[in-house]
Assembly symmetry: C2
Homo-oligomer: 322 residues x 2
């Protein structure tokens, strides 16, 4: 049965039209297709068994946009506003007072601790099921400040095609994001086709409790894991337990994930999305405070990773583009 299915899928792919229609022809697209063809060709020295076809994708700036701020920041700000009636003291208490006035710089003036206080005030204290519902409701209605689109419409069409292309070639795809694991899980399956068990991210601790005999998991105001930079290979090992053969990112936060992936034995693919399109999206790299791409860009060029030039390589960035 399995081999019949595999055969039909192969035939399907062989006769399919371009699997990456939103990608312009050129070296970038070619390097992706060449990699996939090599590792999936039975008998080839580069062949990788299905079980080992693990691909990892960063989320912010790689699968969806991240400007003018990481989208989870807008979620956090909306939560602060929604919770203010229950916290009248926030109107005069920092960092909330500045945040409510729209003064982000002032809010974060006291540094990391202020940021952590805001995150915990908005992300902890409820059960996992309650938080799931909060995210679910927000993602279904909140809109991007510049485009007025739902945040889930701010996903990159070429990357959706890439996910589908890898999936049809029997890759198992994991998101590996610095963003909150439970902030992504409520919508990644619908938007990307990536189920919750294949989402890796930063997290806070949770605690099992019986409430009136009913078990719940309560979200605690304590950092559990930061899935960024050196944390990404650690998160991958924790969740997947084997090294990816392909990794996709866009910032210095993805550098170690790409190092870890591309130095594995055999043919490997490391890809960076370079934001170069100020017209259709944003253009930023070495000096951006959001999604800074500096060291990883140098290393990417030096090591021959695939660098996507969004302006040049992508016919279309968003599905709704004219």
């Amino acid at each position: 049965m399995k081999s019949l299915l595999a055969l039909l899928l192969l035939v399907n792919v062989a006769f399919a039209a371009d699997p990456l229609p939103s990608w312009n022809d050129g070296a970038t697209k070619k390097s992706i297709i060449s990699f996939v063809e090599k590792v999936t060709k039975p008998g080839s020295p580069d062949f990788v068994p299905i079980a080992e076809r693990i691909a990892t994708f960063d989320n912010d700036g790689t699968l969806w946009a991240e400007q003018p701020m990481y989208f989870q920041f807008f979620f956090t700000l909306d939560r602060v506003k929604a919770l203010t009636p229950q916290h009248p003291e926030w109107k005069t208490k920092e960092p909330f007072a500045s945040l409510l006035k729209g003064d982000l710089k002032g809010a974060l003036a006291s540094g990391e601790r202020a940021g952590l206080e805001i995150v915990m005030a908005t992300h902890a204290g409820m059960t996992t099921e309650d938080f799931d519902k909060i995210v679910h409701d927000w993602i279904a209605s909140a809109r991007h400040p510049k485009t007025d689109r739902l945040y889930t419409e701010m996903v990159y069409q070429p990357m959706l095609e890439l996910l589908a292309y890898l999936r049809v070639n029997d890759f198992k795809i994991f998101i590996v994001s610095g963003g909150g694991i439970e902030f992504m899980r409520p919508w990644t399956e619908k938007i990307y086709g990536i189920p919750p068990e294949q989402v890796i991210g930063s997290s806070i601790k949770t605690k099992f409790e019986l409430r009136d005999g009913k078990p719940v998991l309560v979200r605690l105001p304590e950092v559990n894991f930061i899935d960024d930079n050196v944390g990404k290979p650690v998160g991958i090992q924790q969740h997947v337990g084997r090294r990816p053969i392909a990794a996709f990112g866009n910032s210095d936060g993805d550098l170690q994930m790409l190092q870890w992936t591309t130095t594995g034995r055999g043919t490997r693919l490391g890809l960076l999305v370079h934001h170069t399109d100020v017209e259709r999206e944003w253009a930023y790299d070495r000096k951006s405070s959001v999604g800074q791409l500096d060291k990883a860009l140098d290393e990417g060029w030096a090591k021959g990773w695939t660098i996507v030039d969004m302006k040049k390589d992508w016919k279309k960035i968003f599905a709704w583009e004219k």
Copy 2:
């Protein structure tokens, strides 16, 4: 394609011989089959979509034996012996001195700290790849002190059939064990058909490092997560991100996993393996220091969980049994 495959599998199952041949007919076997048929029958009020068919299995005492001690303990002891030439001081230093004399009680006399010291001395300090190889080599050669079988031959034949039966019904199966996550991953795919990314267990922290420009993950002597008791639902949420619809355990360490699973919405299955066969395996429950089954047994009876009586319900315990 998908639906053709599903149809063929259904036909296959419908015409198949008994999917659980090592299980005696009776209420236990019936409750398992009845649950699977309900949740997989399209149009039924109990139907569960494939993506939500998550099943979690404890390992020690549920999938393989755990007497006279958890098998990871024997691994640890063998590692202490193997490492002693590099640690001549262990011959006189506790807890190692007692351990090397075979005096487990003496070794653990100073309590949890002694146990932790032994674990860290044998499980930390190397890279994840080196540890993988150490486990791989040990599991391929070490033998059980009573049966002289490889530890991987000490797996329960009826449970292997149950794993296969759930798999053919499109369940995704996770191991959720108090044992070490990286102690299981090197062999669970071959023995149980469960890939590393579906193994959840206790862990120590790891650290990303570049050694001569080559990335490695180094295992640190620091506890990361204890996947037992109240930790099991936490571990499931971290790794899977949704609640299982079926959970399988054998001890009080599995109680919270079964509570978490069986109180989800819809038809759920909670199952406990009760070790009742002193002839073919071991008989122990409320007073055992290994795999104690006391509170969970009471709650299981009270709540109508499926309780496997190994002596009565299993035709065969191990595949190699005459």
